[in-house]
């Protein structure tokens, strides 16, 4: 197991290192009215992650959707200490990227964001796998 660490390359959008259990959605994800900042709970009734909690997780979803206020909801979630340890997208978008950049400015919290992986991540990452994300190099490592 330990020796069979799989490394997949993507594009590092924001710098930093993060590790955590994978939380995977195959649907576009929204933070505005979708995540409760004071808990990190997913509250979007249409999401396949409804009832899950994003705190400390490696949050994996194809791309963001919904209101342009999403960056503020995400930023507030991070401010309250309930943000993910890393984010992996198929193709990221400005709502997600802006929130992460602002979080580093305001609160000194660096969350690596990686997208455009060379393989479809949902093929090889199962829920609860431990994943390491390096936003500087764009490398994603499946630890276990």
């Amino acid at each position: 197991m330990g020796s069979a660490r799989e490394v997949v390359r993507g594009r590092g959008v924001t710098p930093g290192q993060g590790q955590g259990k994978a939380l995977v959605s195959t649907q576009p994800f929204m933070f505005a009215h979708g995540v409760e900042p004071q808990s990190g709970d997913v509250i979007d009734m249409r999401s396949d992650m409804l009832g899950e909690n994003i705190k400390g997780k490696v949050l994996i979803f194809p791309f963001g959707k919904g209101s342009t206020t999403g960056s503020a909801w995400f930023l507030e979630t991070i401010r309250q200490g309930n943000g993910p340890s890393a984010v992996i997208n198929v193709e990221t978008e400005p709502i997600i990227a802006s929130a992460i950049v602002m979080a580093r400015f305001l609160y000194g919290i660096a969350i690596p964001l990686v997208d455009r992986l060379e393989k479809d991540i949902t093929d090889f990452v199962t829920e609860d796998a431990t994943v390491q994300v390096n936003g500087d190099t764009g490398e994603v490592t499946i630890v276990s």
């Binding site: 959008v13 960056s71 503020a72 802006s98």
Partner: protein, 406 residues
């Protein structure tokens, strides 16, 4: 990204802390989207409501204000989470109002025009065809891109004010000509579309398009701006439509083939049954349950829409067991008052509210469980957060539910 000398100097802090922060955010986001440069904008429209911005939004705007940030282009602001003049009447907790007032102060220091309206294209911030602008507020983005032919992405909170302060935005997405091509076609073969139908049609187009650019055939040439406002709001909230082309109506579709010679990826026909089915989907309410509040004005009610309400309200008054709330901009309210529309409606029991709207208010404090609206956007945005059941009816249906003959 290739930066100008001035932009490089900004990054070194030569123009103060706010400019340094703003340029860095623009560059970081621009790099993520493969932009080669920052381009000048002529206008910005930012978000400023506490309900979504939270403490983090206060932190960001106050940091920019304290860092000497000043808007370099005309910049308006979306509605607030509270009506600054009527929050006591609407029972908004004082702590909540204080948070919104901190945002108000920061926004004032930054030099934003305090319009508190989601329809800046009707007043104070009207872009021209082909201009690059940086707007937040999805319904306004849809209107500016589509009806006016200005160019903006759905600018998220944070990026919006940084664009306003620097007068710049990274060039990507809808700022690039080739990304404005239509990709899916909607054929609307219906006559006599009602006001409600435009909201519903928007929701259908939004849901089926997702993030693709729709082209709509069959909207009549005499469609009003109010109806396009409602259509775009529905499309932007049911999907993430930032730009649509309506054949014979929107300017880019008049200048050239919006598909640019390509075939549509998909073609949808919209029938009367599709409209009825979507109305049923938008309405989550049990038809027998009792409506506690009826609301109009999402997007904010225009003067034309206010006149229509006035005419339908003749010899009627709001029922004692129901609340009837209408949201409009301060100017529309003042104009309505000057025209003699507002006072009789207030006497009939309607509560007007300016500077805010239902979808971004602290809805939970009212404890409603069943609300009626004539807006697809309002219906689609509110329930997921507040567990409300929503009845979706046309303006006549809303008025008949909320009122009784005098």
């Amino acid at each position: 990204m290739i930066l100008t000398d001035e932009e490089k100097a900004c990054l070194q802090g030569s123009h103060g802390e706010a400019n340094r922060l703003a340029v860095e955010l623009l560059v970081r986001v621009g790099e993520a989207f493969g932009s080669e440069r920052l381009i000048p904008i002529t206008s910005a429209h930012i978000l400023g409501h506490y309900g979504s911005l939270h403490q983090a939004g206060i932190d960001f705007l106050e940091t920019l204000a304290e860092g000497g940030g000043q808007c370099r282009v005309p910049t308006t602001v979306d509605p607030s989470s509270v009506d600054f003049d009527r929050w006591e009447q609407f029972r908004v907790p004082e702590d909540y109002v204080k948070k919104q007032k901190r945002l108000q102060i920061a926004i004032g220091k930054l030099g934003v025009i305090p319009s508190w309206s989601c329809t800046p294209y009707f007043a104070h911030n009207v872009p021209r065809f082909g201009q690059n602008i940086a707007w937040a507020e999805s319904s306004a983005v849809a209107y500016a891109n589509s009806v006016i032919g200005a160019r903006t992405n759905r600018t998220p909170f944070g990026l919006d004010i940084c664009a306003a302060i620097t007068g710049k935005i990274p060039e990507f997405g809808l700022y690039v000509e080739k990304n404005r091509r239509g990709s899916v076609l909607f054929e609307v073969e219906l006559d006599a579309l009602s006001d409600l139908d435009y909201h519903t049609l928007g929701a259908i187009v939004g849901r089926r398009s997702g993030s693709r650019i729709p082209v709509i055939k069959g909207i009549p040439p005499d469609v009003t701006n109010d109806r396009l406002k409602c259509f775009g709001a529905g499309a932007a909230s049911a999907g993430s439509v930032a730009l649509y082309h309506a054949l014979g109506i929107t300017p880019e579709a008049q200048l050239k083939d919006p598909f640019d010679g390509r075939r549509p990826e998909e073609i949808f026909t919209v029938s009367r049954k599709d409209l009825r089915d979507m109305e049923d989907q938008i309405s989550t309410a049990d038809p027998d349950s009792k409506v506690e509040m009826v609301t109009l004005g999402c997007p904010l009610l225009s003067i034309g829409e206010l006149k229509a309400v006035f005419q339908k309200m003749r010899d009627r008054r709001v029922r004692k067991d129901i609340l009837f709330w209408i949201y409009l901009s301060q100017e529309t309210y003042d104009l309505g008052r000057a025209l003699g529309l507002v006072d009789p409606l207030e006497k009939a029991g309607i509560w007007f509210s300016t500077q805010t709207c239902a979808t971004i208010s602290p809805v939970k404090v009212w404890g409603f469980s069943h609300v009626m609206t004539n807006s697809a956007k309002c219906a689609l945005v509110v329930p997921s957060e507040h567990n409300l059941s929503i009845a979706y009816r046309d303006t006549d249906g809303c008025i008949l539910t909320a009122t009784e003959p005098v």
